[in-house]
């Protein structure tokens, strides 16, 4: 059986735990891999063989560099995720507002109103609250018009 520790990075700032990909080539030739954590010290307080093997293959400076690169990558991913979320939210708001406007324009008194100015205000509303306010104003105006007939 052959053990190989790939892409190691520090798991903590004390630098006494390493996370890496452990690739094992078994005696029958089969290869398996898993994510593995390697502690520097065993229960007896001595430096473990696995840790020594990792360091032998990958110097501490390289592990430092891997750790920095990983942190940077994760930081970039977090920023990208946040931005994507904001984009999705902005798109969702626009879509919801558009659908809400279509619904409002199907309200009978608004649909039948000839007040172009008021309808344009509804159409140009930048959010649902503004749209609702203008819709209510127009409905009230149309109701008053109907009552006075």
């Amino acid at each position: 059986m052959k053990k190989e520790f790939r892409h190691p990075f520090w798991e903590n700032y004390q630098k006494d735990r390493i996370t890496c990909k452990l690739v094992i080539t078994h005696d029958n030739g089969e290869v398996t891999s898993s994510t593995s954590t390697v502690g520097k010290y065993g229960k007896d307080g001595k430096i473990t063989k696995d840790y020594k093997d990792v360091i032998a293959l990958t110097p501490v400076e390289k592990i430092d560099k891997n750790t920095e690169e990983r942190e940077e990558r994760h930081k970039e991913n977090r920023v990208a995720d946040k931005r994507k979320k904001a984009e999705r939210e902005a798109a969702r708001k626009l879509e919801n507002l558009f659908n809400a406007k279509l619904e409002v324009f199907e309200i009978e008194s608004i649909k039948n109103s000839t007040n172009r100015k008021a309808k344009a205000k509804i159409r140009r509303s930048k959010n649902q609250y503004e749209m609702m306010a203008y819709a209510i104003m127009l409905i009230q105006e149309e109701d008053a018009k109907n009552e006075s007939k």
Partner: protein, 262 residues
């Protein structure tokens, strides 16, 4: 005599498209009070709002979702601006639309930048005769000159060829114009594929002058497009003119007809 100029909107199959077409007509009029606007729609959708359009025609096949192609092919205007109904005009620069044509026969928005998240246009790359091809012309808006007989033929062919695509299971294979080119079946859903074929595979149309709108995406800005780092509209010099909601417009709006009476 100066050419007639106007907008063509189409609403078929789903009443949601009729509602949004009425809204779009009003949006256009907010900025262009005298604009000519023609609607092609399923006859059962019509209500008093049809009176606000200059002309209203029945579509040929009310249950066909892509009757936009019928409307485009039958525009009553010399210079026509077709716009998908599921969007809204949000900028006064719409008033400059007919100046956009310049010396071209047709103008489209061209999808050419990878940084855009094209949720509504996911299958843009495809194989044709073993070669990877890309659909770039977006059919959501189109400005075209119907005085050119070739443009008229183009629009008619677009409709007829897409009709064959859509009804391929009931149409004899000898009419399957894409046959023998290894086109994936899923591509046949897209009228953009027909558009690609017309502009890339048909010698008849090779001399048509097809151009791109000035500041391209302003004229068809999908709400699913990616924003820039400041959260503002991306890849445009000024704010969009036409916001296109096709990726997630609430098509179930058909049901709210009975729900919103106060």
């Amino acid at each position: 005599m100066s050419p007639s100029k106007g907008f063509v909107l189409v609403a078929s199959k789903r009443i949601a498209f009729y509602y949004s077409a009425c809204n779009l007509m009003e949006c256009i009029r907010d900025y262009m009070p005298d604009a000519n606007i023609t609607l092609f729609c399923s006859p059962e959708f019509k209500d008093h709002r049809c009176d606000d359009f200059d002309q209203v025609f029945d579509v040929e096949n009310p249950d066909f979702l892509r009757e936009k192609l019928y409307g485009m092919a039958n525009s009553p205007y010399d210079i026509t601006m077709y716009m998908d109904a599921d969007g809204e005009v949000v900028h006064e620069d719409i008033a400059t639309v007919f100046d956009q044509l310049e010396d071209c026969d047709m103008k489209f928005v061209i999808l050419k930048d990878d940084p855009i998240s094209l949720k509504s246009f996911v299958e843009k790359d495809f194989q044709c005769s073993g070669v990877t091809e890309t659909m770039t012309l977006c059919g959501g808006v189109c400005l075209y000159d119907m005085r050119n007989p070739l443009v008229q033929d183009f629009m008619q062919d677009w409709y007829k060829m897409f009709w064959i695509q859509e009804h391929r299971l009931n149409i004899p294979e000898d009419q399957h114009w894409w046959k023998g080119h290894g086109i994936k079946d899923s591509m046949l859903r897209w009228d953009q594929f027909t558009l690609w074929w017309l502009t890339n595979k048909m010698p008849k149309y090779k001399d048509l002058k097809i151009g791109e709108f000035d500041d391209n995406y302003r004229w068809n800005w999908f709400t699913s497009f990616r924003r820039n780092a400041e959260g503002k509209y991306n890849l445009v010099k000024k704010d969009p003119i036409f916001l296109h909601h096709s990726s997630s417009m609430d098509k179930t709006v058909d049901e709210f007809k009975n729900e919103v009476k106060l």
